[in-house]
Amino acid sequence: MIHAMRLRLARYVITCFGLLAASAGAGVLPEDRADVLYFRYDGGGVVISGPSMLVRKSIGEHVSVQANYYIDMVSSASIDVETSASPYDDERTQYSLSADFLHGKSTYSIGYVNSDESDYTAKTLYAGVSHDMFGDLTTISFAYKTGQNEVFRNIKIDGVKQNDPAFADEMETQSFSVALSQIITKNMIVSGQYEVITDEGFLRSPYRSVRFFVDQVAGTQGQQSEIYPNTRSSNAASVRAKYFLPWRAAIDSMYRFYTDTWGVVGQTAELGYVHPLDKPIWGGNWIFEGRVRYYSQDAADFYQDIFPRANYANFMARDKELATYSAVTVGAGATYEFKIERFPWLSKAQINLRYDFMTVNYDDFRDARQSIGSYGIPPPPELVRPAGQEDLYTLEANIFQLYISAFF
């Protein structure tokens, strides 16, 4: 079935490539730039930090290439890890290469992404086309992506972390998206996007467990591995609008609706405001940004915080990302933009600082540390709660970014 779907999608993309390539005109390639980012995410017992470097460069007038190198250094003592495993450190390395080819009013894009960590590898290929039309007021885009993933499980043998020789599995993912961007007035642009993603293979975590009542009256519990379906198909549609305000500032908004075959329904809304200062300070221009993002989600059909008994259903999950919850992220950023006289080949440079604060309030994911304990150590007697009666879990995260951008 997936194979047939892939053939249909490939045929669709190829057909549209061929039709749109027949058009002629003039498009625009992205500008040449280089970015170096340092990021840090700290929340829910998980710290992820690392650098990301991106370079984009034109080759002639019709080709632009981009390379990105990204490292996640993960130190995890999340609530899942506390209740069923040991804290761990890991590192994920990702690189990507892509190229854009401009032909008339059409831009063709291809790319490859490789991601490696000790227990997961992912290889993704994508291709897309975008086309300007109606006097360049409208841009329509199509993209197709396919990914091959290998899943392993780390265990300790003689105190050394290594892949479990008894476990290895695979997952394949495909995505197709279509997008439309439209200039409405000389101050307003709107866009919409629709994306279908299908996954097939091993879709759960090889580490996470669900919990179930052994004796509901006594509040005792047991744990077993999660059981997931082998397929997942999702539909996501989003609309965005950007408006240039009369006092040289910009406001933007976004809404996304999401649904999938697991029963997850999610809604995202975002509002942002960008305000540049009128006068230079310290020889450069300043741009400030504020942003708020709201997300809410209904749980997957087979999610429960605690199941009535062992092997209760064909599919059983306790991933808090599949629970019912809402989240608010508030962010602010500042950009200092300047030129360096001794580097005339550098059109401008920027130093960017961003901070986001995320809070997540779960409606049906409880803090099982109050009944199970942490890393095998039971909770203090005065804090013990019966299974299923623990406090609802909340997560707060600090997200920090510092990056330097150079434009050529």
């Binding site: 057909t15 549209c16 749109l20 991106l54 009013k105 360049d136 841009t139 965005r240 950007k242 999401y258």
Partner: protein
């Protein structure tokens, strides 16, 4: 049936591409505000990282990118 629908969609896209002689209601020289850098959005290196954070924390995924191709206003 599905193949016919796809062909109709692609044919419409093709016809639309051939309609570039339509007079744009926002002329190229009127797109200065849309081309202002403050309308460009966050740098890809930063946005990709944030998208990764949200995708890791949320059950939803997809349709996070812009329309692509920009606004044609250089």
């Amino acid at each position: 049936m599905r193949t016919r629908n796809l062909l109709v969609i692609c044919a419409l896209a093709f016809c639309a591409a051939g309609c570039s002689s339509i007079e744009p209601w926002v002329a190229p020289y009127d797109r200065e505000n849309l081309a202002d850098p403050i309308m460009a959005g966050r740098a890809a290196v930063s946005q990709d990282f944030l998208d990764h954070v949200f995708e890791s924390r949320e059950g939803s995924r997809g349709a996070t990118g812009g329309a692509g191709g920009g606004c044609g206003c250089n």
